[in-house]
Symmetry: C2
Subunit: 319 residues, 2 copies
């Protein structure tokens, strides 16, 4: 069972065919960066058309039963999430409404300050705000996964402490392996492993040691090391694959519409040769099996851990 | 000339008649607390109907020429502002769009964390955020007054330092006179007076020493003391009058839609006997003239200072 806990692919029939070829059981897809509520609705509208036109390859899923049903029918399950809580606005009721629309993951923030907390590129880390606590409670209640990717360290630590449910970092790597504000410090990894949280190892070049040149062996060694340090239950894959997206998209991701003067123009980094598209999941798993990680632990890493986590995380509270 | 730099009255012909009776040249009216962009648009829609039906009493103004024109025609000029930057969302372009809709004032935040900075009731003060700097630049450019009422102290100090234009606190009093997170500390008053900023003294009971029981003499003594300490150019009136609003409105102001469980139910405090409605502006001015403040300084305090400030503040940059 393979699960990818974060992709932002440009949807196409070719990509869905690769998901099937890569034997992906489920993929969490980002449907919002800087979009407001109606922007997210527009994105979901587009996805509903894909579920119609490629219903033989993919299936919309909001819980693990639906993932299993999709897989039994030979399809990849698609789950949705937001990298930014902007769609909540300041309205707590929108957490449930977005869950009802199928949003199963939401980040506390994306790089900068949100109404919930600070991002990893915001110079001052506010920690979890007053409204942030309300939203964490409500995400806990409705069964929406709290995603700490792109959050500031202090904010992330406070969310782990405050949240009644385990939380996740869907896509990041250890900072000790590759130092960047996007990667995770020891105490955050420790806190996640101690609370039943999850980390999806990222294959986005900016999160990898040696960037695009990172070898599959180096990646597997990092994963092996993490499993030895924090145990085998905490880790999965969250590739951050942005397959098929033009460079205009990474500029939208970085700059949104929050500055008047355009920010520096950026390009998507070249993906590692061994992880370019969804069909490369098979090769990734093979490479991990060649490492010092046991076969049973590779199974956990490439899918079973995420499935166990989601089996609890996606079930709403009875409150 | 009387100018009131903040009211949140329930619009009615009776209130507009009192504005005329109180000889008010201009009133800054709040048209958004927790509303998003479209919520503000809805509120403005309502006001456009009032300008039609009570066009003999009030007139929409976006600059000082329009204030003067309204006054020549015997009318009170109405300017609009927001107590919360939620209507900007994360989109810098909306600053100009809202200015084009007639929004001439906007607070950095309302009590809690916003995308721009922290509020005075947020336990951790983030200061001015990355996006906050962009918005301050853009508000400076389009000629929208930056209002620090309800901001956290650190955030407020950082905005004063960062902003190219003088900024205002439309409605608050000195903290040394009445201690509450909403009132202003010495270094903030000092910084505003040194940079050409403004403070509108509030008549909202929670901001007054002795609350609803505060006497006009006590209020005038405070104003006199402030003028002696910081000079006569920095102060005006920003009454925070919420005339005619039912208690449901103060609950909306406090709680918005940001919490799941309702917050404590609150009521509007009883106004001071000498400042209940817009016609009481005449008595307020009379009381100030009976104090140790010179007549020339009372003229500045009750209107001329705001007019001088707005004569510069409402003119867009040529950038």
């Amino acid at each position: 069972m393979f699960i990818d806990a974060l992709q932002y692919i440009r949807p196409s029939r070719a990509v869905f065919q690769q998901m099937n070829a890569g034997k992906l059981s489920a993929v969490h897809i980002t449907v919002g960066y800087h979009e407001d509520f109606m922007g997210v609705v527009e994105n979901l509208k587009g996805w509903n058309r894909w579920f119609e036109s490629s219903g033989d390859l993919i299936s919309r899923a909001t819980n693990c039963d639906e993932i299993s049903a999709a897989n039994k029918a030979g399809k990849t399950a698609i789950l949705f999430g937001l990298q930014n809580p902007l769609a909540f606005g300041s309205d707590i009721s929108r957490v449930e409404l977005l869950a009802q629309l199928g949003i199963q993951f939401c980040q506390i923030t994306y790089n900068q300050q949100s109404l919930l907390g600070a991002g990893c590129f915001e110079p001052v880390d506010s920690g979890l705000t007053v409204f942030g606590r309300e939203v964490v409670d409500e995400m806990n209640r409705v069964g929406m996964v709290i995603d700490l990717s792109h959050a500031g360290h202090k904010t992330a630590m406070e969310v782990i402490k405050y949240s009644e449910r385990p939380v996740a970092v869907t896509h990041a790597n250890p900072n000790a392996w590759h130092a960047t504000p996007r990667n995770l410090h020891h105490d955050l990894l420790q806190a996640l492993s101690e609370t039943g949280g999850m980390v999806g190892f990222s294959l986005y070049p900016h999160h990898l040691k040696s960037g695009s040149e990172c070898s599959l062996e180096e990646f597997a060694d990092m994963a092996s090391n993490m499993i030895q340090t924090y145990g085998s239950k905490t880790f999965g894959i969250g590739s951050d694959l942005c397959q098929g997206q033009p460079d205009s998209v990474v500029n939208w991701m970085r700059n949104g519409h929050w500055r008047k003067k355009p920010g520096p123009t950026v390009k998507f980094p070249k993906p590692p040769t061994w992880f370019k598209d969804n069909s490369d999941f098979l090769g990734l798993a093979k490479g991990l099996r060649r490492s010092t990680i046991s076969d049973a632990d590779v199974d956990l890493l490439v899918g079973k851990n995420w499935m166990s986590f989601l089996e609890k995380a996606l079930v709403p509270d009875e409150r």
